[in-house]
Every structure is written in C-alpha cells, then in structure tokens.
Symmetry: C2
Subunit: 225 residues, 2 copies
DNA sequence: AGAGAGTTTGACCAATTGGTCAGGATCACG
DNA sequence: CGTGATCCTGACCAATTGGTCAAACTCTCT
C-alpha cells in the first residue's frame, strides 16, 4: 500500500473537496494518512478496472479500511474518483508545460519524449487511469480536455509551429506530433501487458530500448533537411 | 444497429462456440440475423464500457432483444465477449500479416502504417474493445498475446531486422518500431475523445493530417542514411 | 393443417453493489 | 481526567446485475 517511489515529478496537490467529514479547519494526522491511503488504493483499483469495474469493497480491502470508513472520508465512489483525477492531472501534464522556447528545438522535444517515457515507467497506474477514462469517452474529464488541456496544447503547438517556420525543425503538424508522442510513450504503460507478453523483458530493459528507438524516431523526423 | 460499412478488411469468420441453443446442424436464418445483431450490439457496448462496465441489459436494449433472449443465443455474458474477441482478432491482425518481404521495405512499412490508420478510422469500436481489454490486463486474451500474437510479431520482427542488416532500412529495433506503429495509429481510435476535444476537426479531416504526419515520421526515420 | 423444432418472454432468484445509520471507540486538549 | 470532536463499525437497505425456467408463441416442413 506504499505510495510508489518516483523520481520526482513535482508534488501532488491534494485538492479534493467532496469529502464527507466535518470539513472544519485543517487536516488531522489521521485524516492525512487515511486519505492518502485511500487515494493510493483507489488508484490501484481504478487503474486496473476502470470506474465502473472498480468496487468500493476492492478499494476498501486494498486500503485495509472498512467500506463505511471509506465513505466517511469521501462521500461517494465518484468523489474518490474525482479526487484522484484532479490530484493527478497536474502531474500528468507537467512535462508538456516545461516545453520551453529556450534551447535547441529538436533536443527540447526529444527531452520531452524522454520525460514522458520516464513517466510511463514510473507512473503506469496513473497512465492507465487516464487511459481507462478516455477510452470510455472521458465522461468525468471532458470539460478539462476541451478547456485547460486544449488551451495548453494549442499554446505548445504554436511554439512548435514557430520553430518549424523558423526552419529550426522540420515542417510537421504540431498537434499530430504531440499526439504521437503521447501515444508512443504512454503505450508502454497502458499496453504494458501486451508489451511484456511479446518481449518477455528481463528487468525493465525494454524501456532503455524504447528510449533509444524513440530518440532516433523523433530526432530524424524533426531535424531540418 | 446496422453493421458498420467498411472498406474491406477481409470477411469476419463467425467462430463462436459457446452458444446455448440446440446447436445441431447449420444456422437458421433467424439465428444468423440475431447472432449478428447481438455481436454488433455487444461490440458497441463492450467497446464503450469494458467488460465489467457493460451490462446485459444495455446489450439487450442495443440489440432490441430481451435479456433472456440474448442468453438463448449465448450462454453467458462472458460467452458473448469471448465470441466477439475471437471473431475480431483475425481482422485486427490481418494488416501485420500482409507485411511482406517483397517490395521496397520503407514503402512496405509506410503502407502498413496507412493500413492501420485506416482501421482506426473505420473500426474504432474494435480498436477500443482491444484497448479496454489490454489496459485492464488482458484477462481474456493473455494466452493469445503470449502465443499466436507473439509468434506473428517475432516473425515480422525478423523480417524487419533482415531489412536493416541489408541496409535497406535504417537500423532500428523492430519490436519498438511495431509498437510505435500500433500506438500512433490506434491512438486515433482509442483516444478519439481527446483528439476531437483538442482539434475539434470538421468532418474527419484530422485523419488525413495524421496520415501526412505519420508518413513523414516513418519515412524519415526508416530511410537509410 | 398439424406436429415438432426453434424462438421469445415475464416472472423470478441469489449475489453483488453503492450507500446509510445509530451507536461505540478513540483521540486531542483544557 | 473528562468531554467533545473525530474516527470507526456492524447491521442494514434498495437497486442492479447475471442468470434460470416454465410456459407460450412462431416458424418450417410434410
């Protein structure tokens, strides 16, 4: 039930509101611990079964808490799910935010790819949580996709397009470049079962191979003629 | 409830066994029609909600049949799901099978990418069905992944590796090349909601843009120096 | 037309699921 | 130490879900 150790993708702001407790003043030590335990257990279960497929009993068992006790901290199954998603969205989009106009464009993008690949390795459950959500039509975060996410992507797409018109990278569609980066990197988390079934990798060697391949793929495709 | 019109990815062999009917002799006209209707409805529901998220009532409603009538044709929810998966697996892997040693290697691979992208456009429900299954650990098809699928991929990977050693394509890891092709193309089906939320495409214009981008991506990365 | 196979359904069931609630246990703090 | 706030639980509930079954309906073929 340990919170997975990770490199460091920034602190995760715990920002859920829909709790069922008195909700006065600040967090108790017990609240702090239990809420964090619940969210970790929920991540484990939701990411492996989707919203509908997950049950409160499973989450309760994974958290070693009773079901009514879960509902003491979160007023419904949906509330837990919502809290998880909003807690993780910032972490998830952080790498894209750091894509900066300073530095050499091709290397900047390759660095972004590596960062995303690292996240697929370190935070596969988070990746699968979003994958489940979006494959099923993103019923809980559609507004975020069409709002803040679209804004962020539009912004970075302009930057990439500027690089292209300046001749600093090849002429490519920035949106589809971003989509392909998301797809190729998150694939190693979301389709982990398939990748492992086919490669049968020792330790996690295949992530290094993936890094080599993706570096080649994007460097050659982005380097101006 | 109409079976989606598609280009032509080969006929779909209806090969489910676990039916609940008398099962003597050949199919009745009624059986033919109802089984096909049920599978189409099930595809719609399973692909949008996953196995656990789908309910027999939803499938029954989508098929305009009563729930007990579903269970007259298939003996359980699992049986429907199994029938769907095995019916679609061949279709799904057909493009990879056609990857042939004849012809110009780079163009052969680019053609494969286009074929997969076409499938993402024409058969998004099928793509999502598999995505749901694999994201959740492939509980129903793990043996197929580790068996026939692995064999097929191993085979095609050797072919690609041969091309590389012959200097006819760039030196790339063939397995990760295949994974990246799967990822980038299926992304447009599996993450359709996200893609549309960000691009807000008119008609399906974005598929053509994706084709252009992916052609560039793989052509530059695979063309030998 | 009539018989038998094939098809359909309403009523029903047990298990699971999300959620409630009254009361008891425990903690923080003066 | 006591008391009020916080924390926890067993028992319970209504709705949903996968699945059964006997009876009724309909099709096909002679």
């Amino acid at each position: 039930m340990e919170r997975r150790a990770v490199k460091d993708f920034g602190s995760l702001p715990i920002t859920e509101s829909s709790m069922a407790m008195p909700e006065t003043s600040a967090r108790t030590r017990i609240q702090e611990k239990n809420i964090s335990t619940i969210l970790d257990a929920a991540l484990e279960v939701f990411s492996g079964a989707g919203f509908r497929g997950a049950t409160l009993d499973q989450i309760a068992r994974a958290a070693s808490l009773s079901k009514p006790n879960l509902l003491y901290y979160f007023k419904s199954k949906e509330a837990i799910h919502r809290a998880l998603l909003s807690e993780l969205l910032d972490t998830w989009l952080a790498p894209l935010r750091t894509l900066d106009s300073g530095g050499e464009p091709v290397e900047e993008i390759v660095r972004y790819v590596m960062r995303k690949l690292d996240m697929a390795r370190e935070l596969p459950r988070e990746s699968r949580l979003f994958a489940n959500e979006i494959v099923q039509g993103a019923p809980h975060i559609l507004d975020i996709i069409e709002g803040p996410l679209k804004t962020l992507v539009d912004e970075k797409a302009s930057l990439i397009r500027k690089w292209a018109t300046e001749g600093r990278i090849a002429e490519v569609d920035p949106y589809h470049l971003i989509f392909s980066i998301w797809a190729t990197t998150q694939h190693y988390a979301d389709f982990d079962t398939q990748v492992r079934g086919i490669l049968r990798p020792e330790r996690d060697q295949h992530f290094d191979d993936a890094a080599t391949f993706l570096t080649h793929l994007y460097r050659t495709a982005l380097t101006p003629d």
